[in-house]
Amino acid sequence: MTSSACPCCSGLSFETCCGPILAGAPSATAEALMRSRYTAFVRHDLDHVERTHAPEIRDDFNRAEAERVADECDWQRLDVLRATEEGDEGTVEFLIHFRRDGQDMRHHERASFRRVDGQWLYSAGEVNPKGEPRRVVKVGRNEPCPCGSGKKFKACCGR
Protein backbone atom coordinates (compact mmCIF):
# COMPACT_ATOMS: atom_id res chain seq x y z
CA MET A 1 0.00 0.00 0.00
CA THR A 2 1.38 3.38 -0.91
CA SER A 3 0.89 6.24 1.43
CA SER A 4 0.04 9.66 0.08
CA ALA A 5 0.41 13.08 1.67
CA CYS A 6 -2.71 14.15 3.51
CA PRO A 7 -4.58 16.96 1.70
CA CYS A 8 -4.80 18.89 4.98
CA CYS A 9 -1.10 19.81 4.68
CA SER A 10 -0.17 18.27 8.03
CA GLY A 11 2.87 16.64 6.50
CA LEU A 12 1.56 13.24 7.55
CA SER A 13 0.25 10.58 5.26
CA PHE A 14 -3.47 10.45 4.60
CA GLU A 15 -3.63 7.02 6.21
CA THR A 16 -2.24 8.25 9.51
CA CYS A 17 -3.87 11.69 9.43
CA CYS A 18 -7.38 12.41 8.13
CA GLY A 19 -8.06 8.99 6.62
CA PRO A 20 -9.25 7.24 9.79
CA ILE A 21 -11.33 10.27 10.82
CA LEU A 22 -13.07 10.33 7.46
CA ALA A 23 -13.69 6.63 7.95
CA GLY A 24 -15.49 7.36 11.23
CA ALA A 25 -12.84 7.26 13.97
CA PRO A 26 -13.16 10.05 16.55
CA SER A 27 -10.63 12.85 16.13
CA ALA A 28 -8.21 13.36 18.99
CA THR A 29 -8.34 17.14 18.84
CA ALA A 30 -10.51 19.94 17.52
CA GLU A 31 -7.71 20.77 15.12
CA ALA A 32 -7.67 17.22 13.77
CA LEU A 33 -11.40 17.46 13.15
CA MET A 34 -10.98 20.80 11.40
CA ARG A 35 -8.29 19.32 9.19
CA SER A 36 -10.45 16.33 8.38
CA ARG A 37 -13.34 18.59 7.40
CA TYR A 38 -11.07 20.41 4.98
CA THR A 39 -9.82 17.09 3.63
CA ALA A 40 -13.44 16.02 3.23
CA PHE A 41 -14.02 18.99 0.92
CA VAL A 42 -10.91 18.14 -1.07
CA ARG A 43 -12.06 14.53 -1.41
CA HIS A 44 -15.74 15.36 -1.99
CA ASP A 45 -16.74 13.46 1.11
CA LEU A 46 -19.46 15.82 2.27
CA ASP A 47 -21.01 13.13 4.46
CA HIS A 48 -18.17 13.66 6.87
CA VAL A 49 -18.75 17.41 6.92
CA GLU A 50 -22.44 16.91 7.50
CA ARG A 51 -22.12 14.44 10.35
CA THR A 52 -19.58 16.58 12.20
CA HIS A 53 -21.91 19.54 12.56
CA ALA A 54 -23.22 20.12 16.09
CA PRO A 55 -26.94 19.32 16.33
CA GLU A 56 -27.98 22.97 16.69
CA ILE A 57 -26.54 23.89 13.29
CA ARG A 58 -27.18 20.64 11.44
CA ASP A 59 -30.39 21.87 9.84
CA ASP A 60 -28.64 25.02 8.69
CA PHE A 61 -26.11 23.10 6.63
CA ASN A 62 -26.73 23.63 2.93
CA ARG A 63 -25.46 20.35 1.61
CA ALA A 64 -26.29 21.13 -2.02
CA GLU A 65 -24.27 24.31 -1.94
CA ALA A 66 -21.37 22.65 -0.13
CA GLU A 67 -21.23 19.92 -2.81
CA ARG A 68 -21.09 22.55 -5.50
CA VAL A 69 -18.39 24.53 -3.73
CA ALA A 70 -16.39 21.32 -3.32
CA ASP A 71 -16.70 20.69 -7.07
CA GLU A 72 -15.89 24.16 -8.25
CA CYS A 73 -12.94 24.96 -6.08
CA ASP A 74 -9.41 23.90 -6.62
CA TRP A 75 -8.32 23.40 -3.03
CA GLN A 76 -4.71 24.42 -2.61
CA ARG A 77 -3.82 24.55 1.01
CA LEU A 78 -4.99 24.71 4.59
CA ASP A 79 -3.08 26.81 7.09
CA VAL A 80 -4.06 26.30 10.70
CA LEU A 81 -3.12 29.62 12.29
CA ARG A 82 -4.01 28.83 15.88
CA ALA A 83 -5.68 25.99 17.72
CA THR A 84 -6.68 26.01 21.36
CA GLU A 85 -8.58 23.56 23.50
CA GLU A 86 -10.03 23.79 26.97
CA GLY A 87 -11.83 20.72 28.18
CA ASP A 88 -14.57 20.00 25.70
CA GLU A 89 -14.37 23.35 23.91
CA GLY A 90 -11.99 24.05 21.08
CA THR A 91 -11.21 26.93 18.74
CA VAL A 92 -9.33 26.69 15.48
CA GLU A 93 -8.43 29.69 13.38
CA PHE A 94 -7.53 28.80 9.84
CA LEU A 95 -6.97 30.03 6.31
CA ILE A 96 -8.01 28.06 3.28
CA HIS A 97 -6.36 28.85 -0.03
CA PHE A 98 -8.25 27.91 -3.12
CA ARG A 99 -8.89 28.85 -6.72
CA ARG A 100 -12.38 29.48 -8.03
CA ASP A 101 -13.30 30.88 -11.42
CA GLY A 102 -9.63 31.27 -12.19
CA GLN A 103 -9.05 33.47 -9.18
CA ASP A 104 -6.96 32.93 -6.09
CA MET A 105 -9.12 33.22 -3.02
CA ARG A 106 -8.77 32.58 0.64
CA HIS A 107 -11.20 31.90 3.41
CA HIS A 108 -10.30 33.00 6.91
CA GLU A 109 -12.36 31.70 9.81
CA ARG A 110 -12.26 31.15 13.53
CA ALA A 111 -14.27 28.03 14.13
CA SER A 112 -15.64 26.74 17.42
CA PHE A 113 -15.79 23.04 18.24
CA ARG A 114 -17.38 21.10 21.04
CA ARG A 115 -16.71 17.55 22.20
CA VAL A 116 -19.84 15.50 22.66
CA ASP A 117 -19.55 11.87 23.77
CA GLY A 118 -15.92 11.85 22.76
CA GLN A 119 -16.64 13.28 19.29
CA TRP A 120 -15.49 16.71 18.25
CA LEU A 121 -18.21 18.64 16.41
CA TYR A 122 -18.14 21.93 14.56
CA SER A 123 -20.52 24.32 16.34
CA ALA A 124 -19.93 27.82 14.95
CA GLY A 125 -17.69 29.83 12.70
CA GLU A 126 -16.74 33.45 12.75
CA VAL A 127 -15.60 34.58 9.37
CA ASN A 128 -12.79 37.14 9.18
CA PRO A 129 -12.31 37.22 12.93
CA LYS A 130 -9.95 40.17 12.77
CA GLY A 131 -12.49 42.24 10.91
CA GLU A 132 -11.16 41.86 7.41
CA PRO A 133 -13.52 43.47 4.94
CA ARG A 134 -14.50 40.33 3.05
CA ARG A 135 -14.70 36.65 3.70
CA VAL A 136 -13.23 35.73 0.42
CA VAL A 137 -10.64 37.96 -1.12
CA LYS A 138 -8.58 37.79 -4.24
CA VAL A 139 -4.91 37.63 -3.53
CA GLY A 140 -2.45 39.46 -5.77
CA ARG A 141 0.34 37.28 -7.11
CA ASN A 142 3.01 39.58 -5.70
CA GLU A 143 1.42 40.22 -2.34
CA PRO A 144 2.86 38.65 0.78
CA CYS A 145 1.31 35.23 1.21
CA PRO A 146 -1.64 35.34 3.60
CA CYS A 147 -0.45 32.14 5.27
CA GLY A 148 2.17 34.23 7.05
CA SER A 149 5.22 32.57 5.54
CA GLY A 150 6.71 35.94 4.62
CA LYS A 151 7.15 34.82 1.02
CA LYS A 152 5.36 36.35 -1.91
CA PHE A 153 2.09 34.66 -2.64
CA LYS A 154 3.22 33.42 -6.05
CA ALA A 155 6.24 31.78 -4.49
CA CYS A 156 4.25 30.13 -1.71
CA CYS A 157 0.65 29.03 -1.63
CA GLY A 158 -0.06 30.63 -5.01
CA ARG A 159 2.19 28.26 -6.91
Binding site: E65, R68, E72, N128, R134, R135
Partner: protein
Amino acid sequence: MEPRFACTACGKCCHGLLPLTLTDAVAHAVRFPLALVWTVVRSNAKSYDLATRLGTSVRLPNRKTVAVLIQPTAYLPNHFPCPALQPDNLCGIHADKPSRCRTMPFYPYREEKDQADLLVPRKGWECDVSAEAPVVYRNHAILDRKDFDRERAELLEQAPVMRTYADYVLKYMPWIVNDLAKMAAAPAGGKLVTSLSSFLTATRRTDARELAAAQAPLMQAMAERTRTDPALADFHRNYAGWAKEMERLAQRG
Protein backbone atom coordinates in the same frame (compact mmCIF):
# COMPACT_ATOMS: atom_id res chain seq x y z
CA MET B 1 -54.15 66.67 -14.74
CA GLU B 2 -55.06 63.19 -13.61
CA PRO B 3 -52.75 60.40 -14.56
CA ARG B 4 -54.19 58.02 -17.09
CA PHE B 5 -52.95 54.60 -17.97
CA ALA B 6 -53.80 51.65 -20.15
CA CYS B 7 -51.73 48.66 -21.13
CA THR B 8 -51.37 48.25 -24.90
CA ALA B 9 -49.85 44.80 -24.41
CA CYS B 10 -46.56 45.75 -26.03
CA GLY B 11 -44.81 43.22 -23.81
CA LYS B 12 -41.90 45.53 -23.10
CA CYS B 13 -42.22 45.37 -19.33
CA CYS B 14 -42.27 41.56 -19.45
CA HIS B 15 -38.47 41.43 -19.55
CA GLY B 16 -35.71 41.08 -17.02
CA LEU B 17 -36.02 40.59 -13.27
CA LEU B 18 -39.58 40.00 -12.11
CA PRO B 19 -40.08 40.36 -8.35
CA LEU B 20 -42.62 37.85 -7.08
CA THR B 21 -44.47 37.22 -3.90
CA LEU B 22 -43.34 34.02 -2.21
CA THR B 23 -46.69 32.46 -3.06
CA ASP B 24 -46.24 33.29 -6.73
CA ALA B 25 -42.64 32.13 -6.75
CA VAL B 26 -43.67 28.75 -5.41
CA ALA B 27 -46.68 28.51 -7.71
CA HIS B 28 -44.57 29.28 -10.79
CA ALA B 29 -41.43 27.37 -9.85
CA VAL B 30 -41.72 25.23 -12.98
CA ARG B 31 -41.63 28.36 -15.12
CA PHE B 32 -39.28 30.96 -13.62
CA PRO B 33 -35.64 30.47 -12.61
CA LEU B 34 -35.77 31.77 -9.04
CA ALA B 35 -33.36 33.72 -6.90
CA LEU B 36 -33.61 36.05 -3.95
CA VAL B 37 -32.83 39.67 -4.77
CA TRP B 38 -31.79 42.04 -1.98
CA THR B 39 -32.34 45.77 -2.26
CA VAL B 40 -31.23 48.37 0.28
CA VAL B 41 -33.65 51.15 1.22
CA ARG B 42 -31.95 54.02 3.00
CA SER B 43 -33.53 55.64 6.04
CA ASN B 44 -34.18 58.88 4.15
CA ALA B 45 -36.25 57.13 1.46
CA LYS B 46 -39.99 57.76 1.34
CA SER B 47 -40.72 54.04 1.47
CA TYR B 48 -38.35 53.35 4.37
CA ASP B 49 -40.97 52.58 7.02
CA LEU B 50 -42.91 50.34 4.69
CA ALA B 51 -39.70 48.59 3.64
CA THR B 52 -38.88 47.80 7.26
CA ARG B 53 -42.30 46.14 7.56
CA LEU B 54 -42.05 44.19 4.30
CA GLY B 55 -38.37 43.39 4.68
CA THR B 56 -35.91 43.62 7.50
CA SER B 57 -33.65 46.15 9.18
CA VAL B 58 -29.92 45.69 9.03
CA ARG B 59 -27.30 47.54 10.99
CA LEU B 60 -24.30 48.28 8.82
CA PRO B 61 -20.67 48.36 9.99
CA ASN B 62 -20.87 52.17 10.00
CA ARG B 63 -23.69 51.87 12.57
CA LYS B 64 -26.31 53.17 10.16
CA THR B 65 -29.47 51.13 9.89
CA VAL B 66 -31.06 50.44 6.52
CA ALA B 67 -34.14 48.57 5.46
CA VAL B 68 -33.52 45.62 3.18
CA LEU B 69 -36.11 44.10 0.88
CA ILE B 70 -35.57 40.49 -0.09
CA GLN B 71 -37.66 39.64 -3.10
CA PRO B 72 -38.17 36.17 -4.51
CA THR B 73 -37.52 36.95 -8.15
CA ALA B 74 -37.74 35.47 -11.61
CA TYR B 75 -34.04 35.91 -12.27
CA LEU B 76 -33.54 36.99 -15.89
CA PRO B 77 -31.10 39.32 -17.66
CA ASN B 78 -32.64 42.72 -18.53
CA HIS B 79 -33.36 42.00 -22.16
CA PHE B 80 -34.56 38.42 -21.69
CA PRO B 81 -38.31 38.01 -22.15
CA CYS B 82 -40.36 36.40 -19.43
CA PRO B 83 -40.70 32.69 -20.24
CA ALA B 84 -44.47 33.15 -20.24
CA LEU B 85 -44.38 35.91 -22.85
CA GLN B 86 -45.73 34.66 -26.16
CA PRO B 87 -44.53 35.66 -29.64
CA ASP B 88 -47.59 37.93 -29.99
CA ASN B 89 -46.39 39.79 -26.83
CA LEU B 90 -49.33 38.55 -24.85
CA CYS B 91 -48.99 36.80 -21.55
CA GLY B 92 -49.24 33.04 -21.89
CA ILE B 93 -50.54 32.66 -18.34
CA HIS B 94 -52.81 35.67 -18.19
CA ALA B 95 -55.46 33.98 -16.05
CA ASP B 96 -53.00 33.13 -13.31
CA LYS B 97 -50.16 35.50 -13.86
CA PRO B 98 -48.22 36.64 -10.78
CA SER B 99 -49.46 39.44 -8.52
CA ARG B 100 -46.60 41.63 -9.68
CA CYS B 101 -47.95 41.54 -13.24
CA ARG B 102 -51.53 42.18 -12.14
CA THR B 103 -50.65 45.21 -10.09
CA MET B 104 -48.63 46.86 -12.85
CA PRO B 105 -47.89 49.72 -13.05
CA PHE B 106 -48.44 50.19 -9.33
CA TYR B 107 -45.89 48.91 -6.84
CA PRO B 108 -46.94 47.94 -3.31
CA TYR B 109 -43.40 48.18 -1.97
CA ARG B 110 -44.11 51.91 -1.99
CA GLU B 111 -46.81 53.80 -0.15
CA GLU B 112 -50.01 54.18 -2.09
CA LYS B 113 -49.70 57.97 -2.06
CA ASP B 114 -46.28 57.72 -3.71
CA GLN B 115 -47.13 56.01 -7.01
CA ALA B 116 -47.59 58.86 -9.47
CA ASP B 117 -44.20 58.60 -11.18
CA LEU B 118 -44.72 54.89 -11.82
CA LEU B 119 -47.48 55.82 -14.24
CA VAL B 120 -45.00 57.49 -16.56
CA PRO B 121 -43.92 54.77 -18.98
CA ARG B 122 -40.25 53.95 -18.92
CA LYS B 123 -38.13 54.41 -22.01
CA GLY B 124 -39.32 52.09 -24.77
CA TRP B 125 -42.52 51.08 -23.04
CA GLU B 126 -45.70 51.62 -25.01
CA CYS B 127 -48.20 52.14 -22.25
CA ASP B 128 -51.07 54.43 -23.24
CA VAL B 129 -51.10 57.51 -21.03
CA SER B 130 -53.09 59.71 -23.42
CA ALA B 131 -56.49 61.33 -22.80
CA GLU B 132 -58.00 58.16 -24.27
CA ALA B 133 -56.78 56.02 -21.41
CA PRO B 134 -58.78 55.72 -18.21
CA VAL B 135 -57.90 57.55 -15.03
CA VAL B 136 -56.38 55.05 -12.65
CA TYR B 137 -55.03 57.21 -9.83
CA ARG B 138 -56.77 60.16 -8.21
CA ASN B 139 -55.72 62.34 -5.28
CA HIS B 140 -52.85 59.96 -4.61
CA ALA B 141 -55.18 57.01 -4.34
CA ILE B 142 -55.42 53.96 -6.61
CA LEU B 143 -58.92 53.74 -8.04
CA ASP B 144 -59.07 50.00 -8.59
CA ARG B 145 -57.03 48.79 -5.68
CA LYS B 146 -57.90 45.10 -5.57
CA ASP B 147 -54.63 43.82 -7.07
CA PHE B 148 -52.50 46.30 -5.17
CA ASP B 149 -54.08 45.28 -1.89
CA ARG B 150 -53.70 41.61 -2.67
CA GLU B 151 -50.02 41.91 -3.49
CA ARG B 152 -49.39 44.10 -0.44
CA ALA B 153 -51.21 41.61 1.79
CA GLU B 154 -49.12 38.72 0.45
CA LEU B 155 -45.95 40.71 1.05
CA LEU B 156 -46.93 41.51 4.63
CA GLU B 157 -47.83 37.92 5.24
CA GLN B 158 -44.50 36.60 3.98
CA ALA B 159 -42.41 39.20 5.83
CA PRO B 160 -41.62 36.94 8.83
CA VAL B 161 -40.27 34.28 6.47
CA MET B 162 -38.05 36.79 4.71
CA ARG B 163 -36.78 37.93 8.11
CA THR B 164 -35.93 34.36 9.04
CA TYR B 165 -33.99 34.12 5.83
CA ALA B 166 -32.20 37.43 6.41
CA ASP B 167 -31.11 36.23 9.86
CA TYR B 168 -29.77 33.01 8.38
CA VAL B 169 -27.79 34.76 5.69
CA LEU B 170 -26.34 37.32 8.06
CA LYS B 171 -25.27 34.51 10.37
CA TYR B 172 -23.78 32.16 7.80
CA MET B 173 -22.70 34.58 5.08
CA PRO B 174 -21.76 37.55 7.24
CA TRP B 175 -19.70 39.16 4.47
CA ILE B 176 -22.98 40.11 2.85
CA VAL B 177 -23.25 43.00 5.30
CA ASN B 178 -20.31 44.57 3.53
CA ASP B 179 -22.03 44.23 0.19
CA LEU B 180 -25.14 45.83 1.66
CA ALA B 181 -23.03 48.69 3.03
CA LYS B 182 -21.54 49.21 -0.40
CA MET B 183 -25.00 49.28 -1.95
CA ALA B 184 -26.17 51.76 0.69
CA ALA B 185 -23.27 54.05 -0.14
CA ALA B 186 -23.66 53.85 -3.94
CA PRO B 187 -25.89 56.58 -5.38
CA ALA B 188 -27.64 54.08 -7.67
CA GLY B 189 -28.05 51.50 -4.93
CA GLY B 190 -27.62 48.05 -6.33
CA LYS B 191 -28.85 44.53 -6.03
CA LEU B 192 -27.48 41.48 -4.38
CA VAL B 193 -28.55 38.00 -5.36
CA THR B 194 -28.69 34.91 -3.17
CA SER B 195 -29.66 31.40 -4.13
CA LEU B 196 -32.96 29.62 -3.78
CA SER B 197 -31.09 26.73 -2.18
CA SER B 198 -29.93 28.83 0.76
CA PHE B 199 -33.49 30.10 1.11
CA LEU B 200 -34.89 26.58 1.12
CA THR B 201 -32.35 25.50 3.73
CA ALA B 202 -32.94 28.52 5.95
CA THR B 203 -36.71 28.27 5.90
CA ARG B 204 -36.77 24.45 6.19
CA ARG B 205 -39.38 24.15 3.50
CA THR B 206 -40.85 20.70 3.36
CA ASP B 207 -41.42 21.09 -0.39
CA ALA B 208 -37.74 21.88 -1.01
CA ARG B 209 -37.19 18.75 -3.05
CA GLU B 210 -40.14 19.36 -5.38
CA LEU B 211 -39.16 22.99 -5.86
CA ALA B 212 -35.59 21.99 -6.62
CA ALA B 213 -36.77 19.38 -9.11
CA ALA B 214 -38.80 22.05 -10.89
CA GLN B 215 -35.90 24.49 -10.90
CA ALA B 216 -33.04 22.23 -11.98
CA PRO B 217 -33.93 21.98 -15.69
CA LEU B 218 -34.74 25.70 -15.86
CA MET B 219 -31.39 26.65 -14.39
CA GLN B 220 -29.69 24.25 -16.76
CA ALA B 221 -31.43 25.77 -19.77
CA MET B 222 -30.63 29.30 -18.66
CA ALA B 223 -27.00 28.37 -18.13
CA GLU B 224 -26.94 27.18 -21.75
CA ARG B 225 -28.59 30.32 -23.07
CA THR B 226 -26.14 32.60 -21.28
CA ARG B 227 -23.01 30.57 -21.95
CA THR B 228 -21.47 32.56 -24.76
CA ASP B 229 -22.29 36.19 -23.94
CA PRO B 230 -19.48 37.73 -21.84
CA ALA B 231 -21.89 40.44 -20.67
CA LEU B 232 -23.96 37.72 -19.03
CA ALA B 233 -21.05 35.98 -17.33
CA ASP B 234 -22.45 36.63 -13.85
CA PHE B 235 -25.84 35.29 -14.83
CA HIS B 236 -24.21 32.28 -16.42
CA ARG B 237 -22.12 31.51 -13.36
CA ASN B 238 -25.16 31.75 -11.09
CA TYR B 239 -27.37 29.61 -13.32
CA ALA B 240 -24.71 26.95 -13.74
CA GLY B 241 -23.95 26.80 -10.03
CA TRP B 242 -27.57 26.80 -9.00
CA ALA B 243 -28.38 24.11 -11.55
CA LYS B 244 -26.02 21.81 -9.68
CA GLU B 245 -27.44 22.80 -6.31
CA MET B 246 -30.98 22.20 -7.51
CA GLU B 247 -30.06 18.82 -8.99
CA ARG B 248 -28.51 17.74 -5.72
CA LEU B 249 -31.38 19.05 -3.63
CA ALA B 250 -33.83 17.28 -5.90
CA GLN B 251 -32.01 13.97 -5.46
CA ARG B 252 -31.89 14.15 -1.70
CA GLY B 253 -34.36 12.31 0.40
